[in-house]
Symmetry: C2
DNA sequence: CGGGACTTTGAGCTTTCTCAACGATGGTGG
DNA sequence: CCACCATCGTTGAGAAAGCTCAAAGTCCCG
């Protein structure tokens, strides 16, 4: 169910209900991303223009080139955002998890597609009404600017990776940044001991994210295994045995 | 003077004066970028926290990792924005021209460096005061969000280029997007006839932007010349003889 | 006119890709 | 419940795109 081929599927979205402020309290993304910018009371205004939707693994819910009618906030699961060329070549520009905000667009059209990697739950906002809410809560727009700025920083790092790093550096960089994303101790505590990571995406996803082929991703993993830096319990479960030595392979910046 | 080697130079900034609203009227960037979001009267508030600075070709004016004290608006010339690895490998993430806004940062530090390609004039804003102006003019913050969103779209396109396009596709893509940027007729009128482009950056800059080597950039240009699609009057002056055929080589999206 | 930096071209090499086969895994139907 | 099948992942061998190293050509300035 998890690794559905990413061939274009018809877009099917199942609105479940409008979250109430109380429901927002239960939301996995309540205190990250956009929603963290508001107090519980103010969140009601946001909830009023929101719908909860469920997307099953492998399904496309944003199609590049279509009219940008919605914003989305991920409340559960992981998403791949990507662009494609006419001949099918694909570049995944990001893996987005809980709390990530998707849907910023210029000239009214999405410049990217988005698909569920796992089963995904989203908070969906209608564009028009949400823009009105923004006018009322400048904190939201400020937050959105922060989000966009942060995305830009990550995008620049990815350009550096894609333009200038070797295969092993790319894979190592991915492992480290993915571990930092899942890391409850961003102070680096975990870097000294082993780290367990869940990789919900397929090797093809990884290849399309890192600008490589699946074979090269696989060979890089095998090399890291051979060198005793990582181990796999399952194809989608990796352990960083020597996080610092992996980090040393990322060709750190500056 | 134009092609100064891009080895790190000491940062030298020469504040010239604070622009007055009247001076803003003369500014090359008055009706593009950030400043276009304000009326002539409101622009006075912005001008109050601005200083005009001049950077000579080749000079660094933003250094990755340093404290982000300023925002910049380019009023003349071209700039390269880039990230570097410890061993000197460099990825140019963008060429910025008149009207472009530079300086968005998270966690108070620049995540990139910026250097003048040509002699450059900038409008420099102190971070603190500018944020106060933002609070007063939400239109500015909105505009900034638009800018950031647009940057993100371009960044995603660049990731697609870096991760998935061939050398000739990268060079063609660059030529087309550079022509669209300089194109006074964005409706495509110019695509049918020849287009003259000025390329202020060096081949090394192009290589570091496209994730190639200078040799490969040069060979790609030579191939396009051989095929009769482009011609050079000078190393920095290219003519697209068959813009549509060049566009056909970019592996257009979707 | 000469020197230095940049660009172009050539030849050989390396990394990564392509093509192919084999192995593992998970879901399905008998 | 197990066997089968489709899909995904890994490994190997050869091919190719782009890189490295080298040398010659061009241009700008002093």
């Amino acid at each position: 169910m998890r690794d559905v081929p990413f061939a274009r599927r018809p877009i099917t979205i199942n609105p479940v209900n409008s979250p109430t402020p109380g429901q927002c309290g239960d939301c996995g993304a309540r205190h990250i991303g956009l929603c963290d910018a508001l107090t519980d009371e103010d969140l009601g205004f946001l909830a009023r223009v929101a719908q909860r939707v469920v997307i099953s693994a492998g399904k496309t819910f944003i199609d590049e080139g279509t009219t940008a009618n919605h914003f989305y906030d991920i409340t559960q699961g992981d998403v791949r955002v990507f662009k494609s060329l006419a001949d099918g070549r694909r570049q995944i520009t990001g893996f987005m998890g809980v709390g990530h905000f998707i849907g910023l667009a210029v000239s009214g059209q999405y410049a990217f597609s988005a698909e569920a990697i796992t089963d995904v739950k989203l908070c969906r906002f209608d564009r028009g009404p949400l823009l009105e809410v923004f006018a009322e809560f400048p904190a939201l727009e400020r937050k959105l600017l922060d989000v966009a700025t942060h995305e830009m920083v990550i995008a620049q790092e990815q350009m550096l990776l894609l333009g200038r790093k070797t295969a092993i550096e790319r894979v190592s960089s991915f492992l480290i940044s993915w571990s930092e994303r899942s890391d409850p101790y961003p102070d680096g505590t975990s870097k000294t001991s082993t780290v367990n990571l869940s990789l919900p995406m397929s090797r093809t996803d990884l290849a399309d994210y890192l600008g490589l082929t699946t074979e090269t991703v696989s060979r890089s993993f095998s090399q890291l295994k051979r060198d005793g830096l990582i181990s796999f319990t399952d194809v989608h479960e990796v352990t960083l045995l020597k996080p610092q030595r992996v980090a040393a392979l990322t060709a750190g910046e500056q």
